[in-house]
């Protein structure tokens, strides 16, 4: 093994060696290396296998556009697939494994696909695996997935933390190369709040790889000084290791910060990654430009990389890509690489320039081939020669690395994520950033600037202009002199003719020029179709390197300008973002906030099992010793309420306090029934309709004083009703004096129901609550024994004598304890929402199972509540629509099985006897079902065509989903105490 580490060049810290492993073998690198640079330094050019043909591949870039050098880094649950080795920061103990190969990277059985490549061209799968269809999921798809692919997920829970954070700034600068640094300095010195984000672990961008001097010092020293100044400004935030991946509405940028990806032992107190949502008044895109590969025969072999990548490995990391380097270029970049490598002591044999002539200076001692081309490369795991061609003559040139340069493309991804397409420039021979308004502008080489000095000027000028726009006094800056810069001008070469091997245009997806031709011939000519048919531009790199060549080659095939071909669609994310970062802390139990009732702890200590109802956790039933199933507990609770008394937490119901001289009139308009004359001290059941005449919600509203009411809503619709009221008050009737505020959280509310409720309640409440003093539907403030102020309502959702007692939340648990104690001798029990549901079905009371947005008051038997004599109420007009008054509407009925032991379920449909089970014969459906302990059999509520006329009819309850039919009798929906004797008692 040869060391390719150069003597002294580079910014890596040679005083801090690091040990890491790749495919189980131990290597040494330095602090400041990437995984790719460290592997190259150890002569490990082979870093991966390609997606389809399993061809051996090495790194082709030194940055985030890397298509080839994808690896799995980390072990166990922390193993992360498809990490680009070219941006993975090296740390001590890093463990990397190659992907998509078996049994090993150097001997990969899957490479046989390469021999089959004539059969595996674009569209191969679509054409081959069409028949029989059943085999697609069972055979073809799994087999293809195994043969072709990227890395594999660990399939274990991620042990690390992730966070999300917001940030706000005047100017967001994306990229910290020459333009970005100057932009941050210009706006930062002016006093603007600046954020400077860069995907690299060192700020400085392309300057870190530059051999030119800036402002009389090395580019690296210039960067250091600039960063030092920026770090000293309190209004500037530096964000290295942060990729701005998306541009969203209202100038919100998405970014991901790799907080601990470079750390051997992550701290449990820090997130692994942090997702930033940056709200920027202005933003500058200083993301630089991407060097294009050349498309020639054998251009994918290990050892072939872009000229700028080779320069970066040498200048920044002190690593030579090879010992004997050749250059194939169409512009100045190749020449600069040659001279930088020579300066670093690397042997450069030949420069092959596709152009017949150029003004670029040829380094001394290097052979020059003008008007030439590379048509093939030799070697497998690293090239050992290339075949050059000029004027029809071919020649083999020995080399172990080949730098290629096909010109430059500005990186305009972010500016194109919201619909604008990049604009082709014939002059620049590149797609340039579109005009997306003055708030977000490109600067430096992202804006087409070609040289370092032009980028420095552009960044400073554009940032100063934006800062002035925001009212900051930004002064002209001195632009540092750049010495030794080169002219990167190039002549476009989309495709090098005469290829003897496969010429790849998309390296990650093994898309060759021949595939593009096939797509055109087979009718997939539109560039979006070409992309889908060939997979060019897909997967983790999204065609960062290959897309522009794809477009250029397709344009050439069709004889048009790239402008007419256009680009495919740019979407977030710029580079892959982990799901962990996107989820942040919102996972597991914290996926959504939870709401707990003030009686939660009371329920817990009484043995409650909880159920999630929206965000609320409600007590569902209270199991006692010896009870084996939830049904046993629920049956016991129901029977206790019917015979003694039970206490239920109803704190989750929405509670809205209503004030104003217009409150009575307002309520009269939002409810379909009368509310104008509700006496003080009384509660009334109310139905609220939507404009379309369907029921929105139900509940009770109590008049506490002349102009003061408290409304209860259902748990589920508390928010909707509040919004409905505010909307009606603000837009329909702004002339009414009425104000609302939610007090749902202020009151712990509990329902005490059962024949012994009054006896128990009177032991807790000081006031006289005899039937005469506090009759059914009474509602008023009371005082508890001991002095606590409370509110008492005589309302019932069980059909029993019942009270709802509301106390300030902090006292909820203590008061519930006191009631349980006061009722102990009366045989009180706690009951949950399951028993509550049974009690209400037995009594024929409706919930949102029946109020499902499709039912009118009349459907549910509330027709007489509709006060049509009122001048107006919400829903009145549309209630007279033909469809809402039709005779065969579904109406609420009760169902009881003919055979006592038979059961049916909610959701089942109703059929006439002897009707064929089919939806064409549908008579309605079952909305609520329970096992009634009071009656000893299943009962149900159903919505049935003309239901109220059909009491006594035998009907088939047809459960097509679960299977089975049960005969049931249609009956009135009230099963228990239809005369309301218990309620009024």
């Amino acid at each position: 093994m040869t060391s390719y580490r150069l003597g002294s060049a580079g910014t890596v810290n040679r005083g801090q060696p690091l040990t890491f492993t790749f495919d189980g073998k131990s290597y040494k690198g330095f602090d400041g290396d990437t995984l790719a640079s460290a592997l190259l330094a150890n002569d490990q050019m082979l870093m991966g296998r390609s997606f389809k043909y399993h061809r051996p591949r090495g790194p082709v870039t030194a940055g985030s556009s890397e298509p080839n050098a994808l690896m799995t880094i980390g072990t166990g649950a922390r193993a992360e697939p498809n990490v680009r080795a070219t941006v993975a920061e090296l740390y001590n103990g890093l463990t990397a494994v190659s992907q998509n190969r078996w049994p090993s990277l150097s001997t990969d059985i899957g490479a046989i696909n390469g021999l089959l490549s004539p059969m595996l061209g674009a569209g191969f799968y679509y054409k081959t695996f069409m028949w029989p269809a059943a085999l697609w999921e069972k055979l073809y798809e799994p087999v293809i997935r195994r043969a072709a692919g990227l890395g594999k997920l660990a399939m274990q829970a991620d042990p690390d933390r992730y966070e999300k954070s917001w940030a706000h700034c005047d100017l967001l600068v994306i990229g910290s190369g020459p333009a970005g640094l100057m932009a941050a300095l210009a706006a930062g010195r002016a006093g603007a709040r600046v954020m400077l984000a860069d995907e690299g672990f060192l700020l400085g961008g392309s300057l870190l790889s530059e051999s030119a001097s800036v402002g009389g010092v090395s580019a690296l020293d210039f960067v250091k000084a600039a960063i030092e100044e920026l770090a000293s400004l309190p209004n500037v935030t530096l964000m290295p290791r942060t990729t701005v991946f998306g541009w969203y509405d209202d100038m919100v940028f998405g970014a991901v910060e790799r907080v601990q990806k470079h750390v051997a032992v992550p701290s449990p107190d820090l997130p692994m990654e942090r997702l930033w949502r940056i709200v920027a008044k202005r933003a500058i895109l200083a993301s630089g430009s991407e060097e294009r590969p050349l498309v020639f025969g054998g251009n994918d072999k290990p050892g072939v990389m872009t000229a700028s990548a080779m320069r970066t490995y040498a200048n920044r990391y002190g690593v030579a890509a090879g010992g004997k380097v050749a250059v194939f270029t169409n512009g100045g970049s190749g020449y600069r690489t040659a001279s930088d490598l020579i300066a670093a002591g690397v042997d450069v044999t030949t420069i092959i320039d596709a152009r017949a002539q150029s003004a670029d200076a040829v380094p001394e001692g290097v052979r020059m081939i003008r008007g030439g081309a590379v048509v093939d490369t030799k070697g497998r795991k690293r090239i050992d020669a290339l075949i050059a061609e000029r004027s029809g003559f071919q020649e083999e040139i020995a080399c172990d690395a080949l730098a290629m340069s096909g010109g430059w493309s500005p990186i305009v991804h972010l500016m194109c994520q919201r619909g604008a397409k990049p604009v082709w420039s014939d002059e620049a021979q590149a797609f340039l950033a579109p005009d997306v308004g003055s708030a977000f502008v490109a600067a430096g080489s992202a804006a087409g600037a070609q040289t370092i000095s032009a980028s420095l000027r552009d960044g400073a000028a554009k940032a100063a202009a934006l800062a002035r726009e925001l009212g900051f006094a930004a002064y002209e800056m001195n632009i540092p002199e750049v010495e030794g810069e080169y002219d990167p001008a190039f002549a476009p070469v989309w495709y090098v003719p005469g290829a003897k091997g496969k010429a790849f245009v998309d390296l990650q997806n093994d898309v060759a020029v021949s595939d593009l031709g096939l797509a055109q011939r087979e009718g997939f000519g539109h560039i979006e179709h070409t992309k889908r048919y060939t997979t060019a531009g897909m997967a983790t790199d999204q065609g960062k390197l290959g897309n522009v060549n794809t477009i250029g080659i397709v344009a050439g095939m069709r004889g048009v300008s790239p402008a007419q071909i256009g680009t495919t669609t740019f979407r977030p994310f710029y580079t892959p973002v982990s799901f962990g970062a996107l989820a942040g802390t919102s996972r597991g139990e914290h996926a959504a906030p939870t709401r707990t009732s003030p009686l939660h702890d009371w329920a817990k200590k009484n043995g409650a099992t909880f159920v999630e109802a929206g965000l609320w956790h409600r007590s569902s039933w209270f199991a006692r010793a010896g009870e084996r199933t939830w049904r046993e507990s629920v049956d016991r609770e129901v029977q206790t309420v019917r015979s003694n008394a039970g206490l239920c937490d109803v704190s989750t119901l929405g509670k809205i306090e209503i004030f104003g001289t217009g409150a009575a009139e307002f309520l009269n308009r939002v409810y379909c029934n009368n509310f104008l004359k509700l006496p003080v001290g009384k509660a009334r059941y109310g139905l609220m309709l939507r404009e379309d005449g369907m029921i929105l919600d139900d509940g009770t509203t109590s008049r506490l004083s002349e102009n003061h009411y408290v409304m209860t809503t259902t748990t589920a619709y508390a928010g909707e009703v509040m919004a409905h009221l505010e909307f009606a008050a603000q837009t329909f009737w702004p002339e009414l004096d009425v104000r609302f505020v939610s007090v749902t959280d202020q009151w712990a509310q509990m329902s005490l129901a059962g024949p012994k409720a009054r006896t128990i309640m009177s032991r807790v409440v000081e006031d006289d609550i005899s039937d005469a003093a506090f009759p059914y539907l009474g509602a008023r403030a009371v005082t508890l024994r001991g002095g606590l102020k409370a509110r008492l309502f005589r309302i019932s959702f069980s059909g029993e004598l019942a009270y709802e007692l509301a106390v300030p939340s902090g006292y909820g648990e203590a008061v519930a304890d006191a009631i349980m104690e006061a009722g102990r001798d009366e045989g009180i029990c706690a009951y949950g929402v399951e028993a509550l549901n049974v009690l209400r079905i037995e009594k024929g009371f409706v919930t949102h199972s029946e109020i499902d947005g499709r039912t009118t008051p009349d459907d549910l038997g509330f027709g007489r509540m509709m006060a049509m004599q009122k001048p107006d109420f919400i829903g009145k007009r549309q209630s007279s629509r033909f469809g809402l008054t039709a005779a065969d509407r579904l109406q609420l009925v009760g169902l009881r099985p003919l055979e006592k032991l038979e059961e049916f379920s909610a959701g089942a449909h109703l059929l006439k006897e002897d009707a064929t089970p089919a939806m064409a014969n549908d008579q309605g459906w079952v909305s609520s079902v329970c096992q009634s302990p009071t009656l000893g059999h299943t009962i149900g509520l159903a919505l049935m065509k003309s239901g109220r006329e059909r009491y006594g009819e035998t009907i088939v309850v047809w459960d097509g989903l679960r299977g089975g039919q049960v005969l049931a009798q249609v009956c009135p929906p009230v099963f228990v105490d239809p005369e309301n004797r218990k309620l009024q008692g």
Binding site: R161, E163, K164, S165, W166, A167, H168, R193, D269, L270, P271, R277, V279, T585, S586, H590, A592, P593, T594, R595, T596, S597, P598, D601, W616, E657, F659, G660, H708, D737, R739, F740, V741, V743, T744, D745, Q746, W747, R763, V764, L784, R785, G786, L788, P808, S809, G810, Y811, G812, E813, A814, V815, A818, A822
Partner: protein
């Protein structure tokens, strides 16, 4: 029979695990704050606001047009009810049990809160004395700046446990602690 009823704070169990020592970044959970909703009625909007400003011992928190919270950590609810009851054109509602008051303080408080709320809390944008309703860890709260490094969160009781856990998680990297405080 006279009942002896104990008042229980929603975070009682959540705070049981914390030690006595408050770190530089700390949440003081006010044990019994007085919190009232104030609603100004039509044509009284300006008068109500003017009448609220001079009330001693309370802080005014903006919620919505013509709606405020009045918060006090020193006066009892009964005292405030008396003082506010005289304001013509206003409806007042005691929310002292319906809201919890968390005072978060420390050198990293803005970094912690940046993970909780989407609002810019830079002093130029959210000065001392400013307050607004906003989402904090998905929960609707009223957030006020009461000092350079001090903010107060007024959160509905039912969401308080969930919100508290989330804020503590956001403060983990800065060793955020929490404890009850009387004022």
């Amino acid at each position: 029979m006279s009942l002896t009823l104990y008042h229980r704070h929603v975070l009682e169990d959540y705070l049981a695990g914390f030690g006595e020592k408050a770190n530089p970044n700390h949440i003081a959970v006010i044990r019994r704050p007085a919190i009232f909703s104030i609603l100004a009625h039509r044509a009284h909007e300006a008068a109500v606001e003017d009448a609220l400003k001079p009330v001693e011992g309370v802080h005014l928190r903006y919620c919505a047009p013509d709606e405020w919270l009045v918060v006090s950590t020193t006066l009892g609810a009964a005292v405030i009810e008396n003082r506010l009851g005289e304001i013509a054109g206003a409806s007042i509602v005691d929310q002292s049990d319906g809201r919890a008051l968390l005072r978060i303080h420390g050198p990293n408080v803005r970094k912690i809160l940046a993970k909780c709320v989407a609002v810019d809390l830079h002093a130029d944008a959210f000065a001392i004395g400013t307050s607004a309703n906003m989402l904090c860890c998905h929960v609707s709260v009223n957030l006020a700046r009461t000092g350079a490094d001090t903010f107060e969160i007024v959160v509905p009781r039912s969401f308080c446990g969930s919100l508290f856990e989330d804020v503590m998680e956001m403060g983990r990297e800065f060793a955020l602690t929490a404890a009850f405080a009387d004022s």
